[in-house]
């Protein structure tokens, strides 16, 4: 017994002698280190996935096949989707969760620090498998990120690497989520009741439950593809008594909540930023929490609105239309609340606020096109066209990505102790905002006029809008290098940030901790009144 106690004692003393250099990052159990690694990892993946988007837009610049052949084009669309969803956006918000949840609830670290390390370190192998699939015989799967059977059954061994990668990513997400749920429910400081938590923490608590519920479903779907490919099962083969549409049901039972797994933490970040720069408390905190919870619950009940053309029974088409339309109600509540938060505030427009407003404006636009798509007969025309591509990029890029940018600029002073360059930050916002709309606004028209998605070549009537879109894409891609420069410059030679750079920020990391936040925070929990 005493030996064990002695060991603990030594360990406590050795606390500050953590490994340095590379081993610091490999072995770290510190939530801030792990958060940093998540954020850098996601940025690297963002560049990789972004490069693939550039290949896609280069091929689509004019009609005809110039840059890549159709097989490679399909591989690019598949990997771009998988890498951006699982490699860039999801890990970015897990990075925010790691950095901020302990500081915002007054906890010393995450509940399971070693598991936290493992959740992160599963990501690089998974990403490597995805990228490696490009170089195996047959190349990466050319099936779209939705991996629809039976096309995915036809693919070469790149598909098996992808399936394995999805399994690993799923394990990482599930462990990360268990960590977040346990931390939020058990490690809150005295007095930090659930309804006092910052909205960012609430959104992550709900998101973590969504992840735990649906990642195993995705794992099931890809495992069934794997056994259909190699072990003689016929889940998705009619000749063996299976049904290809079964894959779509299982995939979208995961896939629709997945959309909110990406969007809900973005709501959380924006709900921290807008009140801070309005110098006014968040309007309707309670209704925000209920709205997020109802969106999460509804997200399990609407999956087949991705399948209106699959040949569902008429009654099912009607049910999914009604249920999908209902999501507009809680989403509307959130948008109204954000605008009401700004109403009669004392507004300033630093870069985080600009990105949050860009989010609000463009995410809502994406919400409206979502409403258009929820109407079954209209969706029959728009399904699998560029209208859908425009819609979900408004939600994923102008929604989730802009909110992540808002978050980075907002918390960069807290993380590094240095202030970013405000002029460059504003340049980054305006370039991103303008080029984003150049890429995706015109795609609505392409979709309406009848251009299907996932085609490497198109009829010349679509040329002008495709050119505009491609030019926008190259501009958007280059603008993100400016972001990299801004962040590096802030870390290396940024001006020292004031203790509390944002007048209106009121969560614990701003009110109770110094800037930059020390390596260990809240070893003694604060008392929240």
């Amino acid at each position: 017994m005493s030996a064990v106690i002695g060991h603990d004692h030594d360990h406590a003393h050795g606390h500050d002698h953590h490994p340095s250099g590379l081993m610091r990052w490999v072995k770290t159990t510190n939530h801030k280190d792990i958060g940093t690694m998540y954020l850098w990892f996601s940025f690297v993946m963002f560049l990789v996935g972004g490069f693939m988007a550039m290949v896609i837009r280069a091929e689509l610049f004019v009609p005809g096949l110039q840059v890549v052949n159709p097989e490679v084009f399909n591989q690019m669309t598949t990997l771009h989707g998988l890498i951006m969803v699982f490699g860039a956006i999801m890990p970015a918000f897990v990075g925010f969760a790691n950095w901020l949840i302990p500081m915002q609830i007054g906890a010393p670290d995450m509940a399971f620090p070693r598991m936290n390390n493992w959740s992160f370190w599963l990501l690089p192998p998974a990403a490597t498998l995805l990228v490696l699939s490009l170089f195996v015989p047959g190349g990466a799967p050319g099936v779209g990120w939705t991996l629809y059977a039976p096309l995915s059954i036809q693919q070469g061994m790149g598909m098996d690497l992808t399936i394995f990668a999805v399994h690993i990513l799923g394990m990482s997400s599930i462990m990360g989520s268990i960590n977040i749920v346990t931390t939020v429910l058990n490690l809150r400081a005295p007095g930090m009741t659930l309804m006092k938590m910052p909205l960012f923490v609430w959104t992550w608590l709900i998101t973590a439950y969504l992840l735990i519920a649906v990642m195993p479903v995705l794992a099931g779907a890809v495992t069934m593809v794997l056994t259909d490919r190699h072990f003689g099962t016929h889940f998705f083969n009619a000749a063996g008594g299976g049904d290809p549409v079964l894959f779509q049901h299982i995939f979208w039972f995961f896939g629709h909540p997945e959309v909110y797994i990406i969007a809900i933490p973005a709501f959380g970040v924006v709900s921290q930023v807008i009140p801070a720069f309005s110098r006014k408390p968040l309007f309707g905190y309670t209704s925000m929490v209920y709205a997020v919870a109802s969106i999460a619950i509804l997200s399990f009940l609407v999956w087949a609105h991705h399948m209106y053309t699959a040949g569902l029974p008429t009654t099912a088409q009607l049910y999914y239309m009604y249920a999908t339309m209902l999501i507009a109600v809680p989403t509307g509540v959130k948008v109204f609340n954000w605008v009401a938060t700004m109403w009669k505030g004392s507004l300033t427009f630093e870069t985080p606020m600009l990105f949050a407003l860009g989010f609000l404006f463009l995410f809502t636009l994406g919400g409206f096109t979502g409403l258009v798509l929820s109407v079954t007969p209209v969706d029959i025309q728009l399904h699998d066209t560029y209208y859908v591509v425009a819609h979900f990029h408004y939600v994923m890029v102008a929604g989730a990505l802009f909110s992540a940018f808002a978050g980075v600029y907002f918390w960069l002073p807290k993380w590094t102790g240095n202030m970013y360059n405000e002029t460059l930050g504003k340049w980054h916002f305006w370039l991103s905002f303008i080029f984003f709309n150049m890429i995706f606004f015109v795609q609505h028209f392409l979709g309406l006029a009848g251009m299907p998605r996932r085609i490497p070549d198109y009829s010349p009537q679509f040329t002008d809008f495709n050119m505009i879109s491609s030019i926008g894409a190259f501009g958007f891609g280059l603008s993100q290098l400016l972001f990299l420069y801004i962040v590096l410059k802030t870390i290396r030679s940024g001006e020292k940030s004031p203790e509390k750079p944002w007048e209106g920020a009121d969560s614990l990391e701003w009110t109770h901790l110094p800037t930059p936040a020390p390596y260990h925070t809240f070893e003694t929990p604060p008392v929240v009144k």
Binding site: G64, N237, Q317, V329, S346, F349, V375, P377, A449, P452
Partner: protein
């Protein structure tokens, strides 16, 4: 003579404006394709209604936001009030959208019901998706046109030459939207299509008809259309089906009923010889 800089500028703007306006006036660029069936017309109108509702709400909400951004900024000295809830407005903005949604769902439901009612067709055609072409087979049906085109089989493949795709020849007028043997149907008759696939998923989509239906291997789905005027209608496969997914278009020629009967008589040949013989009128 052009004198001042401003006049020069004006001329340049005018010279640019004319083609720009001509470009912008091409309605086909901005909206859904012109509908040629009753169902497609309803889809078109529904889209317009929903879009207008969205625009009105959009202008309202962001009008408030931009007003606030102008008037409630710190730089004009606005002091923040500290209110953070108001039950009345919160109830209003939860309940009102609900009724707007009911207003949208009602006409949409009507269209879904008519779009799905493929009963009592005049003619039935089986559509099969292959990697990468479409097969059409006129089935022995029970409707008005029963027996007219029984057993006619068509395989419909992209007819755009490879040279055009690889930029070695100028692109034709219907680049990528042309086939060797188009599907031929009569106008003013209810045509039911039974859609299936041979290998992977495909989707049979003709925008002017408002028909987009996945072709699922091993299963048969149905849809229908009644074309309002003769013409050539073009669509594409709308579900990723492999490398040539972008190269399996759909072309449908709608003929007056008499011409259709002539065409059917000409092409009604023993099934075994049907495929190569089925050439459509150009």
């Amino acid at each position: 003579m052009i004198k001042t800089l401003w006049q020069k500028f004006g001329v340049v703007v005018l010279a640019m404006l004319v083609p720009a306006l001509a470009w912008a006036a091409d309605k086909a660029k901005w909206n859904l394709q012109e509908p040629h069936t009753e169902v497609a017309r309803q889809m078109y109108d529904l889209h317009t209604v929903v879009l207008i509702i969205c625009l009105v709400i959009f202008v309202g909400v962001f009008g408030m936001m931009f007003y606030s951004m102008l008037k409630h900024r710190k730089s004009v000295g606005h002091k923040a009030s500290q209110f953070h809830e108001n039950t009345t407005v919160e109830v209003i903005w939860t309940v009102v959208p609900f009724f707007i949604l009911i207003g949208m769902a009602w006409p949409a439901t009507q269209t879904v019901l008519s779009m799905r009612d493929a009963s009592s067709p005049d003619l039935t055609i089986k559509v099969t998706g292959y990697q990468w072409k479409w097969g059409y087979e006129y089935l022995k049906g029970e409707g008005d046109l029963a027996g007219l085109a029984d057993g006619v089989q068509i395989y419909s493949t992209l007819s755009t030459p490879r040279d055009q795709i690889y930029g070695k020849a100028p692109k034709g007028e219907h680049y990528l939207l042309e086939v060797d043997n188009p599907l031929v149907v009569p106008v003013g008759k209810k045509v039911r299509v039974l859609i299936t696939a041979n290998d992977v998923l495909h989707a049979w989509w003709v925008p002017a008809f408002g028909v987009k239906q996945d072709a699922v291997p091993g299963f048969i789905r149905d849809s229908w259309f009644k074309v309002d005027k003769p013409g050539t209608f073009r669509g594409q496969c709308a579900e990723l089906c492999g490398k040539e997914h972008g190269f399996m278009p759909i072309v449908v020629i709608a003929l007056e009923q008499k011409e259709f009967a002539d065409w059917a008589a000409k092409n009604k040949v023993p099934v075994a010889a049907a495929a190569p013989a089925a050439a459509a009128p150009k």
